[in-house]
Structure formats: structure tokens, C-alpha cells
Amino acid sequence: MFGIDIPLPDFWVVYFFIFWVLVGSTAAPVVFRHKGHHPLIGIVVGAAVGALSGIAFTLLLAALQPLADLLDDPLASILVSIVVSAAIILALLAFVRRFVPESGGAGPRAVEAAGGPRAPVTYSARVDKVDPGWQSVQALRASVVIMLAGLTLIPVIWMAMTAFKSYPDAVASPPKVVFDPTLEGIVTLMTKRRNLDSAQIAEYEARDDLNWADRIMLKSGKAIIGQSDYVKRLRNSLIIAGTSTVLSVSMGLLAAYAFSRFRVPGEGDLLFFILSTRMLPPVVVTIPIFLMYRELGLYDTHLGLIALYTAFNLSFSVWLLKGFIDEIPKEYEEAALVDGYTRLQAFRRIVMPEAVTGIAATTVFCFIFAWNEYAFALMLTTDKARTAPPHIPSMIGSGVVEWAAIAAGSLFFLIPVVIVTFALRKYLLRGVTFGAIRQG
């Protein structure tokens, strides 16, 4: 694997081979279990059926090559092969379903067939879901979804791979799937470098005070001379996103509590006004803000971006938190007030602990927004307070495009978001619709 250059293989051949094996090995066991056999036999038979269809797909693709040449459109041959191989696997599965004999052993079905008690339904509560036809369709659905999810993730995986490629591998044509992993991209991202001539390289190689990063760069004839701007930008992102999140969630929590529990005059209008600011294109808001910041000396400062992000997230956090607080029964606080708590104590000891999941979800959403934000940062900062999103594209502009470094930069930037997406999965819908719609 290492050191051998393999170009991008025929992607669809691999993809559909896996796809048909998956379909076969999930759909066939349903039939086998239904007829009283061990499902493992079904998995083996199904995988074999799938592999057969996969091979059929490959052969078809090769056989249809003349057609593709004729139409000058290889896509047609792929589509035909997909349809034909799908027909093949469905026919094979139907054949299996028809001709696999009922188990002769002493399985529950056999007992039932011999006039004994009914075979127990062990794998579903709803009667229509016991039907093998329904189960096969469900297996097919699951396979399709899994393969689509795989397809969706390819760009992200590709970026993660590019981050570990060396410069020639990253810009190879055709693109490489298998390559020598290296940390060159990451080191390039984090450092400033200068080129060395051959005498200097020899001199550097003789030195023994080099760390691993120096050695990696030395391989491509460069010496590290300092930290790159990216580190600074990432730190700015962290400071600005963190501070604005804390501010907007704490202010939003207070406002949401007030809107939820007290009668505020003009409440509907206020809430609409709060939300509508979020709907505007950022550029619309930025023109006057830009002028205002220039007058106040807030242009290209952390404080300026923090204030803007706080204001923008505030609308969102008020709406989201109001939804969460509305769900806490008023009676809890009323009981506490009767017991002699003051309003503030009730808020702190009763409402806040109850709303803690909501607060956590809101915090994360606000953080992601501020972390991902690009337009404001692009227009209101130049250097001192510039965050990572406007910085990453600007790395393209300077001479040779270091795709590996850009991919590494993007990867570091995206990892927190991916982790958070998993943590938040139950609240995603609520977050993106301002708390209006809950996930079922």
C-alpha cells in the first residue's frame, strides 16, 4: 500500500459491488428466517447473490463500452448497468424466496405446520411488519440509505484524506485514493517556511536539534522560520465565538424567561422584531455597521465582532430558549414561590436546572454560528481580529495552491462541528427552525 501509486479506481464498480452485497445480505436472511432456517445461511446466500450482481454490473459496464463511445457519454452505460444489475439481484432474491424449502427441522414453523401451537412472533410487535415482503422492503430501504449516506460523506472524507497528502499527491491527476500519508500539509499550515538550496539542506541535515516538524519540511527542501497566521486566526475564532456565545446565551436566557413567564406589552411584535434581524443578508447589516465601527474605532477588533455576533445570536437564543422554558410547568415555580423563594431564587434553583439541556443545546448552536461565520468577519476585520473562515480561502491567493494545507486547515476547523453534531442530534431540527419544530 505504501509507496505504490494507485489512481482512482472505477468508483462505481466498487460502490455497486458493495451495494448489491449489502442488499443481498440484508434481504435474504428475512426469507430464510421466515422459513425456519438459521438467518446466517441467509446472510451467506444473500452475500453470494449480491456478489453475483456486482460482477454482472462490472461485466455489463465493460460490455457497454461501445455504447458509451457511440453516445460519447459514459453516464448512459452506468445507468443501464445499474438498472440491469438491479433487475438481476431482485430476480435472484425472488428466486431464493420461492425455492428455498421450508426447514424440515423442529423449528417453530415446523411445529406450527404439524398442527402444534402457533409459532411465536419474536421480531416485531406490529402484525404487518412480520410479513416477509415488508421486511425485505425495509432491508432494501436500509441498504439504499446506508449507501446514500456513504455517498454524502465522500467529500468530507476526501478532504480529510487530502489533509494527509504530500503536495504532489494532493494535486495528482487523476486524483489518488491510495497515497503515502504524511503530516506535511499540517506542518505547512501551521508554519512559515523558507526555501533552502542544496548546501543549506546538507547543513540542516547534519544538525541534530531538529524536531519532527523540521524534518518533514526538510524533505521538501524547506526550513521552518516561525508560526503561521492560521494559528492566530484559530485562536481569534475561539475567543470571539466563545465570548459571544456566553454573552448571547446568558442574555437570551433572561429575556426568554421574561417572555415566557411574564406578560410583556407588545410581546408578539418584540419577538418578531428580534427574529427578523436574523433573516437579513449579512451584507445589508454590515454596510452601516462598518461605518459605525470605523467611527468608534471598533473596526478589526475582537470587541467589535463579539458585540455583533452576540447581537445576532441573541435573537436566535431568545427564540430557542423560550421554547425550552415554555415546556417547564409554571406550577414548579409557583410551588417554590409559595414556599418562600423569591422570583430570582426560583429562577436560579428551579428553572435553570430544568432548562439545562435546552441551555446546552442553545450554547452549542450559538457557538457553531459564530464559529462558522464568514461574511461579517470578512468585511469587518483585516488582520488583528480576523477569524479562520475568511482566512482559509485567502490561502489560495498566494502563489502555489497548497491544497493539503488548506484541507488540513478546513479539517481542524470542521472537527469540532462534527463532534457537536453528534452530541446535538436530538435538537438539530429545533435549532435550525428557531425552536418551532421538534423532532419526532
Binding site: 436500509a142 494535486v171 447589516v285 454596510i287 452601516p288 462541528v417 438539530l428 431540527l429
Partner: protein, 315 residues
Amino acid sequence: MSQANAQALSPQSAAAAPPRQRRQTSDRAIAWLFITPTIVLLVVMNIFPLFYSLYLSFNDYSVIGSEPPKWVALDNYEKILTSERQRYWHNFTVTGRYALLSVGLQLILGFGLAMLLREKFRGSGLITTLILIPMMLSPVVVGLFWKLIFDPSKGFFNYLIYTNPRGGAEWLSDPTLGLWSIVIVDVWMWSPFVMLLCLSGLSAIPDYLYEAAAIDRASAWFQFRRITLPQVMPLLLIAVLFRTIEAFKAFDVVMGLTGGGPGDTTETVAVRLYSEAFLGKFRTGESSALAYIVLIIIIAISNLYIRALNRAREG
């Protein structure tokens, strides 16, 4: 007697006023205390700038120029709506085409995915979350790495849609494909959002509707058309409105991917606004007027959107 009792129960409220009335007044104080910081910040950061840019939209002004704003009344609006209409109209048609194509495809794909994921299977939660990842990523970074993917020689996109790449398509530098590449990225990012909305709608449909239909021997197609579709409709409407508003905001992905090019074929309204206001001549007055026109359109759409949201929440 009752006074003494109340004091015994709550030692903190030693004040002379009856506890009930005291609590009410302090409630109002707390309400204002809690809301004021939010309102103040929003007025300073949102309302003031909006009025300021309304003022600017009636002026001839450039932030890099040395002259102060000069009152020209409706000249800026007149320029956009009449004399230079064609240039601006182009940006609106680009935005419209982009919105129509991407929202249409997202609805089909998102709804299809939701139908597939409707019945849970082992691991469906994990798969759903994996599909949702693109939605949460930074749009500009997404635009950037798709730029590499679309590259005709270094990217893999052409290799995926053509088994043997001869003369692959130049996605980002072809005038017609440029918009399509943005649509593809947008669909990749936001179909999961539509899927999520549809899933929540589908899971809310009561089973008895299907059972009643099955007893009446309704076909699967009939059940889909008369039960599933109408029940999910409000959520699809929300998806359409939300994505349309987002289309007017489309800036990050376009900037990361094409920067409005080739030529001005992918220059959406937001990108145009940016280049008017912050590049070249910094035409602040004119861009403020354009911003106000966009603002009016978006407020109209978001009014509909919020009404749809409220209806979905109540129903």
C-alpha cells in the same frame, strides 16, 4: 395575625407591604430587568444600523471618498429600478434560478430520504446523524473544498460522473455549469435539512389514518397522495420559505466556490451587494438602496415564514 404568619413562613420578606402585592411589582421589575439588555443590544446593533442605512440610501456617498454624504433623494433607487435595471435584474434572476433549482432538488431528495428513513432500523439514528453532517459545516469551507473536488484534473467529481474521463467538464469556469455547481453543493448541504423537517412531519402522522385507509382498500399511491403528502405539506412549505430566504443570503458558498464568476454568471444578489459596497468604488449610497430593496423582499417572505412556523407549532 396574618402578617405575623407570612413573616414566619418567609423570613426574607420582612417588608411591611402584603407579600402578594410586593411579589407582583417585583415581577414587573424583573421582567424589564431581564428584557432590557437584549432590547438595548438589538437596538444598538440592528435598529440603529438599519435606520442609518435607510438614510444612506437617499445619499450619494462613498466610504472611501472624502466628501460627506450628499442628499439625492430617490436617485439611488431610481438608478437600480430604471436606468441600470438590467445589471441588477441579472443578479435577481441568478438568485431566482439558483433558489428554484436548489430548493426543488432539495425537496425531492430530502423528502425521498425521509421516506426511506421513516421506519426505524438498527443504526438508523447513526445514519441520520451522518447524513446531517454537511448541514452543520462552515459554508465557506464547504465551498472551498468543493472547489478542489470540481477541479477538472485534480478533483474527483468528473471521475465519479464519467467512468473514463476524457475531456471532463470544467464545472467552475463554464458559464452554464457554474450555477449548477453551486446548486449541487447547496443540495448536498441542505437536502438533509429538508429530510429532517419531513421526518418530523412523517412521524407525527397518526397510524390510524393509514389503518382506516387500508381497511377501505386504498392503494399505496392513494395513501401517499391523500394522507402522507397533505400531512407533510406545512413542513414542506416551511422548508421552501426557509431555503428561499437563505437563497437571498447566499454568499459564503458562492464566495468560496466561484466568487460570482465566471464573468457574473453566478453573481447572486448578496455577492453583488458585497462587491458594490466593499469592492471597487465602495458605492455606499447605491448599495444601501439595493440593500433596502432586498430587505423589503425578505421581510415579506419571512413574514410568511413565521406565520407558517406558528401554524405548524399550533397544529
